[in-house]
Symmetry: C2
Subunit: 150 residues, 2 copies
């Protein structure tokens, strides 16, 4: 990635996430729900069971680009999704990561960590690839939607 190319992406020009975060299905995953500030998606790769993203609707790259109201609203939605994941997966701990090293459009990864995980190991959602069957994806999405209503 050159600084020039990255500057174009940061400006939102040709941003992949702007183009596909709202779709029922995209290469990354499935839409779970649309919230006020964000789209919630379940990752197709469920190696780390429950891996979900919360993506800001509008294009922004870093937290300080948001207004106070947007920042508060985005994190309220992340917290709400986190609580729902906790109800569904009952993890030892939830991990939250805002990286954006490949596409800077602001999104937060939420990953349940289990007691079987090594807590000293860095988070790597793509260490393995685990694909579910269509009914299994539908069940995971349904469970998360129901938990978001609780």
């Amino acid at each position: 990635m050159t600084p020039d190319r990255w500057t174009v992406l940061k400006a939102g020009d040709g941003c992949v996430i702007c183009g596909d975060a709202h779709l029922e299905e995209n290469p990354f995953g499935y839409l779970v729900v649309e919230l006020e500030h964000s789209f919630v998606r379940l990752a197709k790769n469920q190696y780390m069971r429950g891996w979900t993203t919360v993506t800001l609707k509008r294009h922004a790259n870093e937290l300080w680009e948001l207004s106070d109201e947007e920042l508060a609203g985005f994190w309220r939605e992340v917290a709400h999704v986190g609580r729902a994941l906790d109800l569904v997966y009952q993890p030892a701990k939830l991990n939250y990561g805002v990286f954006g090293n490949l596409c800077p459009h602001l999104h937060c990864h939420l990953i349940p960590r289990t007691y079987a995980d090594d807590p000293t190991k860095p988070l790597n959602m793509n260490e393995q690839e685990v694909w579910l069957s269509p009914p299994e994806y539908a069940a995971a999405i349904g469970a998360l939607r129901r938990a978001l209503e609780r």
Copy 2:
């Protein structure tokens, strides 16, 4: 980590971070500044240059345990520190991680990623250990404090 031991830590009983997040120096790093909701610390391991943490003052484990006001205040402070790190280190992207797999007390890691980093590599602040000299730590802390005032 057994579920029983983890439940005790989540309750804040014997929480290491409650005990040392405010100290000038602790085994992890140095205090940069105290904000309304959080303590800001520079990590001693500066393999990833600029690695800084923002730790909630009171004991909580997950984002949904916070009131709306606390949640907004905490992330406003994370964003403020992020902007300061951007001014000092001018990274390609800032990474933000709330993990807490070893100690659940809510804290956010802020890590500048450079153009030299491989964006496909998972974040691992402890992949190597890089210790600075005392004047180098003082310079890094001073630069961050000045940027927080800008």
